[in-house]
């Protein structure tokens, strides 16, 4: 049994500290998952907080034979989809002109690990970050969600299909379209020997 499942079992027996440990293990990942979905830091933190409240309340239904992260991302998917459908969080446009900053001046660009030791490489990396941010934001909701569940959530096609309540072939189609868009937008940055190296 993995550490997450063990913590969930301890929480099911009433140990709140075990749940707090789970939050500390996965809180940051949930903020990032939500951020890449709604492209707004405050909204992402609120979504992540609400996702953990849902997990807390549904903990009694968790069975240790299921991988915790699959279960977590399933709840996260449902919550993000529901909240966005309610119109509570609009996906914010991220434009290159604003330099990845919102109206409040808050930095919204995703930060890649620093691979650029030279000023030129640093500038290329920042430009790539803004393009990635804008490209993810521009994807249709379901394509972006499938991509995030695959890459951030580490989920299989079957798990993504279950989380999104659709078929595996639909998931494959969503991923092909999402990747085609990302490839088109990011290829000028990815083809050179910068940004990611």
């Amino acid at each position: 049994m993995d550490a997450d499942a063990q913590l969930m079992l301890e929480f099911q027996r009433g140990d709140r500290k075990a749940f707090e440990a789970l939050f500390r293990r996965h809180g940051r990942a949930m903020v990032n998952f939500a951020y890449k979905y709604v492209h707004d830091r405050a909204a992402a933190e609120e979504l992540a907080q609400d996702i953990f409240c849902r997990v807390f309340e549904a903990a009694g239904a968790y069975k240790a034979d299921a991988k915790f992260t699959i279960w977590l991302y399933r709840i996260a998917t449902n919550h993000c989809l529901n909240e966005v459908r309610k119109g509570r969080y609009g996906v914010r446009e991220v434009s290159l002109e604003t330099g990845g900053r919102g109206d409040d001046g808050e930095a919204s660009a995703l930060a890649l690990p620093d691979h650029g030791p030279t000023p030129e490489a640093g500038a290329a990396q920042r430009e790539f970050q803004r393009e990635l941010d804008a490209s993810l934001a521009a994807l249709p909701d379901n394509q972006r969600l499938a991509m995030l569940l695959l890459v951030d959530g580490g989920q299989s096609y079957d798990d993504i299909a279950a989380s999104m309540k659709t078929t595996v072939s639909a998931v494959k189609s969503l991923l092909v379209r999402a990747r085609a868009t990302l490839k088109e937008k990011l290829s000028p940055h990815l083809e050179g020997d910068h940004a990611l190296r």
């Binding site: 939050f23 809180g27 933190e45 907080q49 009694g60 890649l112 991509m147 096609y157 494959k172």
Partner: protein, 149 residues
Amino acid sequence: MHFADEQLGAFVDGELPRAEAEAVRAHLGECADCRGTVNMLERVNAAVREAEIDPSPEFEARALAKLRALPLPRRPWLRLLGFEGRRFMPAMAAASLFVVIAVGYRNWQPSSDAARLDDVEVAEHADFLEDYELIEELDVIEDIDKVPG
């Protein structure tokens, strides 16, 4: 011949059956176009995966405060039996206990199968019960202690 983007994507994601994955791997050794596509898909995945924001410094404290304010979730099996819920239900809990004890006692009886077979035999000859006058006279049995051995 090139593999479709969907197949190459599934290859990168580790979703192809082993034989098909081997075929793609062999093809990549010969086809620069497909190798370029796979490389691009891997780099897109890596870019999305590695891109992160730092949550605000207040995020953890705020979220933990909200979680600490939540009541502990109820355990479904206890709720089902009436021991937990919005309010404790003594009648439901008592009924649950009675059922558990009754079922346990019935299953615990060591000669229950034999007893059931005896019951069948008695039932097959139960017509004598219609002659209940005979039974009424059996009240002497109440004085069985007085019967000389």
